[in-house]
């Protein structure tokens, strides 16, 4: 759908022709698009031959900014109330009017600050790859246009206020994140100023020395100092140097390829890192905490020790509540806060000397060695993981009870979404057993059994009869996690305080993964509720379709199946009747020569099997006969011949097929009583059969 903004935006008076030619223009603005999904588009199939989809969908989209531009009758989207308050704020900052030659600078800044404010509020962060890199480019582009307006120093972060003021009524989460977003943008602006200062110096030096800038120079400036390509080109020209950046993109591509390879090696770097191996300071993992006020002991960048971090890196704290990935339980995630900085903890592994090594991504500011920090778990996620982990222990015990023997655990995995348990079993559990298993675990959840964890010398733990996965994995003392008398396992993971917290346990699948090893996947609590709820909706949907309810759904489906069976039988009977009628019809074409019945027929479209079935019907109740049937269509026609009784003394089915094949073009053969073949045409068929009669 298009809106015509009139001649004013059509200086050449070209009118609706622009729309007909599908040209981008300022007069006819596309405002709304409706997509009908009616057909199943398949590559290589003509559009008019697409099949209709079983359910037809509608999906429409209309740009708010375009609607505002039309309703408010502004020249472009930027003069609407969606952008103008931001542009006015930039006018104040720059002491310049929103007019040529500065229109573009104002527009870029207004657009980009909206994007940054919304993206950062939704959890994106500045970084050197992917999403974070795109945001960095957008921020830097906006800063450059700020400079063009003569704004010195960081300014973008101050514009966040006006964006939030304008948009928080519809998007309340902006208000919550405002202060954080301002700090993130300010940090990014400071970083870029630094980059510009260092980069500018280098660039001047290159120009002084060589009088020109090559792709390699520009790439070095970009790669080492983060100096943008377009800025290199612009400043180079300002300094009167020759600038040739043709090769820049391929250098960039090469760099990306190397970076990708390097990423694959980072994990092995970490394990072999000299700095990490030499790092022996103690860091305590606290099972009993969910957050901790502590101190940074060591900072690392890809395994190399550093004194501070302002982007990605790894940190070891004096004390941590963060679980490191081990024993099938995924690591925790969370946040780190300090004076003047904030970061995300995205995963946790173990350093060579056992300390928990936190992989962090900074949101703003710089974290330094010796800093006092608060580190806080993503508690909701941790609790979901704990529910799945404790449920795994209950499952392990229940399996033993149901299968009536000791169950060997062959591996397990738990995260916030589901649990996986691999066990050795000679055969598949019956459906009754699986149901009993699920019931038993849920009964233990309902009982509300307290969790008790003991730290014991390994020999003592073994005496208690705790389950363990791989004996050699445990040190001198071990943790034994108990749920009453029901479950006892050596386990370093984290658990619920009481089985009732698990809420609900559901087995999703039980499958063989290798010979003698099976895998159960199960879900608990919120995940189980969502899963059941989705299935309930499916049930409701289909009941509605059938006009049924829970009580009579089975009856409805049984009725449908019975109807279907009855229709199938009726259909078979009708088919048989039709075949009998056809056979009767053909009787008319039966000639008798000296007591021998001659039957010939062309059945358009019939397959070889159809012909054989028909032949059986036709020859029934006959003793002496010659029968020749032709099916298919011109070009490829199956042929069937049968000879019986006295007629066999004069001819054979195989000979008939050979004779026909010679006359009609084709081939075939068979026994005296029955033969089949294929010919090209039916031309001369009747004559050929007539000539057979001459022998009789």
């Amino acid at each position: 759908m298009f809106f015509d903004r009139g001649e004013k935006y059509d200086p050449e008076h070209r009118g609706v022709e622009m729309l007909k030619n599908d040209e981008e223009n300022d007069r006819y603005i596309e405002i709304w698009n409706i997509v009908f999904s009616q057909f199943n588009a398949v590559n290589g199939v003509k559009r008019e031959d697409y099949k209709e989809l079983p359910s037809k969908n509608i999906d429409t989209g209309a740009g708010l900014e375009r609607f505002a531009c039309i309703c408010q009758e502004t020249p472009t989207n930027f003069e609407t109330d969606l952008f103008m308050p931001i542009i006015e704020a930039v006018m104040k900052l720059s002491c310049k009017e929103y007019a040529e030659p500065n229109l573009m600078s104002f527009r870029v800044i207004a657009d980009h600050i909206r994007c940054l404010t919304f993206a950062l509020s939704d959890g994106a962060i500045f970084s050197n790859e992917g999403r974070g890199y795109v945001l960095r480019r957008i921020a830097r582009r906006a800063m450059r246009y700020g400079q063009k307006l003569g704004i010195n120093g960081p300014f973008l972060w101050n514009l966040v206020d006006i964006v939030v003021e304008k948009y928080a009524e519809w998007y309340p989460n902006l208000l919550e994140k405002k202060e954080l977003v301002k700090k993130m943008i300010l940090g990014e602006e400071n970083k870029f100023s630094q980059t510009l200062m260092v980069g500018e110096k280098k660039l001047k030096k290159i120009v002084e020395e060589k009088g020109m800038i090559s792709s390699e120079d520009a790439f070095l400036l970009y790669d080492t100092y983060g100096f943008p390509k377009d800025l290199t080109s612009e400043m180079g020209l300002e300094l009167g140097a020759k600038v040739d950046l043709d090769n820049f993109d391929s250098l960039m591509e090469e760099q990306r390829r190397r970076a990708k390879e390097a990423r694959g090696q980072i994990d092995s770097f970490k394990k072999q890192s000299k700095d990490l191996m030499a790092f022996k300071e103690k860091s305590e993992f606290r099972y009993d905490l969910e957050e901790s006020d502590t101190k940074t002991l060591g900072l690392f960048k890809d395994g190399v020790r550093v004194s501070s971090l302002d982007e990605e890196g790894e940190v070891i704290f004096e004390e941590t509540p963060f679980y490191a990935e081990m024993g099938g339980q995924v690591s925790d995630k969370g946040f780190v806060y300090g004076e003047g900085f904030e970061g995300e903890i995205v995963s946790v592994s173990r350093a060579p000397n056992g300390q928990h090594l936190h992989e962090i991504v900074m949101k703003y500011g710089t974290i330094k060695e010796g800093d006092m920090v608060s580190i806080v778990l993503d508690k909701r996620r941790r609790h979901l993981i704990e529910r799945n982990h404790s449920a795994t222990h209950l499952l392990h015990s229940a399996l033993g009870n149901i299968l009536g023997e000791h169950v060997d655990q062959r591996g397990s995995f738990v995260n916030e979404e589901y649990l996986r348990f691999d066990y050795s079993a000679p055969k598949k559990m019956s459906e009754e057993d699986l149901l009993a298993l699920e019931k038993e675990v849920n009964a233990k959840i309902e009982e509300g059994i307290e969790e008790i964890t003991e730290v014991l010398p390994i020999e003592e733990a073994k005496k208690k009869g705790a389950e363990m996965e791989f004996a050699e994995k445990y040190g001198d003392t071990v943790r034994v996690v108990e749920f009453g008398d029901y479950s006892k396992e050596f386990c370093g993971g984290t658990h619920v305080k009481n089985t009732s917290e698990i809420g609900l346990f559901l087995v999703k699948s039980d499958e063989a993964i290798s010979s003698g090893v099976r895998r159960i996947e199960a879900i608990t609590s919120v995940g189980a509720y969502d899963y059941l709820n989705n299935r309930l909706m499916l049930l409701d949907e289909n009941e509605k379709r059938l006009g049924a309810n829970d009580a009579d759904l089975s009856r409805h489906i049984k009725g449908l199946l019975n109807d279907k069976e009855a229709l199938r039988k009726e259909n078979d009977q009708l088919k048989a009747k039709i075949a009998a009628l056809e056979a009767k019809e053909m009787e008319k074409n039966v000639d008798s020569v000296n007591g021998i019945a001659f039957i010939k027929e062309i059945k358009e479209g019939a397959s070889r099997d159809d012909l054989l079935t028909l032949a059986d019907t036709l020859k029934a109740n006959r003793k002496d006969y010659v029968l020749v049937l032709l099916g298919g269509k011109e070009g490829a026609r199956p042929l069937v011949a049968m000879v019986g009784g006295e007629a066999l003394k004069k001819t054979k089915a195989g000979d008939i097929v050979k004779e026909m094949a010679k006359r009609l073009g084709g081939g075939g053969g068979g026994r005296p009583e029955m033969a089949t073949g294929q010919v090209k045409s039916s031309n001369g068929f009747v004559e050929a059969v007539e000539s057979l009669k001459e022998n009789f």
Partner: protein, 158 residues
């Protein structure tokens, strides 16, 4: 035509479709969940994919939304043109196996032209492009009041 503010346009859109039995679905986060192939949520339908591909069934088969979107494939062009943005808001309405052409076309016409509940655009200002094979849509648009001359057949308009 009413000089509506951005806020009034959002409200009017949602209210209109709510009056036609749609559920107002809140905007999802710009950072896509569980889709590693996608950098940003970039269309109104993105958050509803799970309903369109059948992996989940919506509580209400009619939905409407105002969705935050980011498109960053053409950053360098932003500022040069009158209408391209990195961040924008998309208004939408959706039917998952519920209503189809016969409902959506009259509604679209009503929302665009009605002074009371819609945007009050004069129909002389509106043009519709349609696929030349889609005669059903053409007839319906004219029936609801579109000017026949303003119906533009366009190949490749699927």
């Amino acid at each position: 035509m009413k000089p509506l503010t951005g806020m009034e346009i959002r409200n009017r859109w949602i209210k209109f479709f709510e009056s036609k039995g749609h559920k107002n679905v809140p905007s999802v986060s710009l950072v896509p969940h569980g889709d590693k192939s996608l950098l940003w949520v970039n269309a109104g339908v993105t958050g509803l994919k799970k309903y369109f591909d059948g992996s989940e069934i919506p509580a209400n088969r009619r939905m409407t939304n105002v969705q935050k979107c980011i498109r960053t494939n053409d950053i360098e062009n932003v500022g040069h043109t009158a209408r391209h943005h990195t961040f924008f808001e998309m208004l939408g309405n959706f039917s998952i196996g519920d209503y189809f052409r016969d409902e959506v076309i009259p509604w679209a016409f009503e929302l665009l032209t009605d002074e009371e509940v819609g945007f009050g655009f004069p129909k002389e200002k509106l043009y519709i492009t349609y696929n030349p094979m889609d005669k059903a849509s053409l007839e319906l648009w004219i029936k609801v009041g579109m000017i026949p001359d303003h119906m533009i057949p366009l190949e490749g308009n699927f």
